[in-house]
């Protein structure tokens, strides 16, 4: 199907604009991280860059399927969520030099059955969101990542950013939702995160953080082998 650029539906233009704002911000931040590492004389971790790009590419390919409510074909294998959380934190270290990030892992390893590329992307997106909102609003930003194991495996991502009014908490994860005009990004990333987690039998939830901002709660079922 072909489209005339001057006659796109207004809603399509709006959603594309939101998507592009978030995507270009994500990629330019990645470039900035790499430039920053180069300026500091630190080695460039191209494996990390490739991992991020692959995961992003998978996200873009998944989104049309999700929009049509088609199921994702997950490539599940046993994954240690503690290791994944460390990898995500490590990949954003340059940014966390500006916003301190405390990582607390209470169960190590924490095994789940999951699609590594997609879950890495989901956790990365949630952590990036926390970093982004915190950085934009305050100079003394703080992010906390917390992993605990109970009836399920939970990752909590807390920030002391602006938070989200209770009225909008239930709407987070809707692609068309944008709460702060001055902050790049859109609801696309949380929409994707919610879909991927639910495809794993998990969930994405939002609540007020003890730090004053937003708490993102990711829950995933234990690996079958670890509960047997």
């Amino acid at each position: 199907m072909l489209f005339h650029i001057d006659r796109l539906p207004a809603e399509a233009t709006r959603l594309l604009r939101l998507f592009l704002a978030g995507s270009s911000h994500t990629l330019s931040n990645l470039v900035m991280d790499l430039d920053y590492a180069a300026q500091e004389g630190k080695p460039t971790d191209m494996e990390m860059v490739l991992r991020l790009l692959r995961a992003y590419s998978v996200q873009l390919a998944d989104l049309p399927l999700l929009m049509d409510e088609q199921p994702l074909s997950l490539y599940r294998r046993p994954l240690d969520l503690a290791a994944m959380l460390r990898a995500v934190e490590g990949s954003m270290r340059a940014r966390f030099e500006r916003v301190p990030c405390a990582l607390r892992i209470l169960s190590d390893p924490a095994w789940i059955d999951g699609d590594e590329t997609r879950l890495y992307r989901v956790i990365w997106l949630c952590v990036e969101n926390a970093n982004l909102y915190t950085t934009y609003i305050r100079d003394d930003g703080e992010v906390q990542l917390h992993l605990e194991v109970g009836a399920c495996v939970s990752v909590l991502i807390d920030d002391n950013g602006p938070g989200v009014p209770a009225l909008y908490l239930a709407q987070l994860g809707t692609p068309s939702l944008r709460l702060y005009d001055e902050i790049p990004g859109s609801g696309w990333s949380l929409f994707y995160a919610r879909c991927v987690l639910e495809a794993h039998g998990g969930a994405l939830a939002f609540e007020e953080s003890p730090l004053g901002g937003l708490r993102v709660r990711i829950t995933l079922p234990h690996a079958v082998a670890s509960t047997a």
């Binding site: 199907m1 072909l2 489209f3 005339h4 650029i5 796109l8 539906p9 809603e11 399509a12 233009t13 959603l15 594309l16 604009r17 998507f19 592009l20 704002a21 995507s23 270009s24 990629l27 330019s28 990645l30 470039v31 790499l34 430039d35 460039t44 191209m46 860059v49 490739l50 790009l53 692959r54 992003y56 590419s57 998978v58 873009l60 390919a61 989104l63 049309p64 999700l66 929009m67 049509d68 409510e69 692609p175 068309s176 929409f191 919610r194 879909c195 639910e198």
Partner: protein
């Protein structure tokens, strides 16, 4: 829980086409970065970052386009020979199935422009011509020449393509063949960048039977 977007079919079609095309672009970008690193080329990391940066610029520019803003470039002297050579290097990973013949003058050809955006545009055009040529195991040609103005031509020897289909190039959602990736959104971007450089892009049938793309700067 339903994840459907509250949007009509046309809106969903627009989004679907954009996302599909860009998933492919990003997949190619990953391949290019991998190739850079595997070959242990000098400055491989810098090249990889450059490709990433150029794509990031494309997305930023498109977001401004949808805000209704006109693309502005900050011109600096750019040697087009170097830009096109860099594109050919990046394309090497995907040109294995389509022999690529390059003809460029030995000396620099300077224009005033934005090297990163021009790099991205020529990569978009070269990828399209290469994918089209490789689909039918044809050859492709890239030539840079100075006449009354500057001309960069990218062409292939096939597969054959109709004038009707050529006329649709640059329309979002378009692709040359159902087995080839979408290229409409990227060509729309290429058009904007070249226009911002006071240049034009023309798509025609190649005398050899395939696709002929000519970028001209006055």
């Amino acid at each position: 829980m339903s994840h459907s977007l509250d949007a009509n079919h046309e809106t969903l079609d627009v989004l679907r086409s954009f996302l599909t095309e860009n998933a492919h672009i990003l997949g190619n970008l990953v391949m290019e970065v991998e190739q850079c690193l595997q070959e242990s080329r000098p400055n491989a990391k810098e090249q990889a970052v450059r490709v990433l940066h150029a794509y990031s610029l494309q997305l930023t520019d498109l977001s401004l386009f949808f805000e209704g803003e006109v693309l502005e470039i900050y011109p600096r002297p750019v040697d087009l020979v170097i830009v096109v050579r860099d594109v050919v290097r990046m394309l090497a990973a995907r040109c294995e199935e389509a022999s690529c013949h390059v003809s460029m003058p030995p000396s620099p050809i300077w224009i005033r422009g934005d090297s990163e955006r021009l790099f991205r545009v020529f990569l978009i055009l070269a990828e399209m011509v290469c994918a089209h040529a490789a689909y039918g195991e044809h050859e492709m040609f890239i030539a840079l020449e100075r006449g009354e103005g500057l001309r960069i031509t990218l062409s292939n020897t096939g597969p054959a393509i109709s004038e009707e289909r050529i006329a649709l190039l640059g329309s979002p959602g378009h692709r040359l063949h159902q087995d080839l990736p979408h290229e409409g959104w990227a060509l729309l971007y290429a058009q904007q960048v070249v226009a911002a450089h006071h240049g034009t892009i023309q798509y025609t049938q190649s005398p050899a039977g395939g696709l002929h793309v000519q970028v001209s700067f006055s």
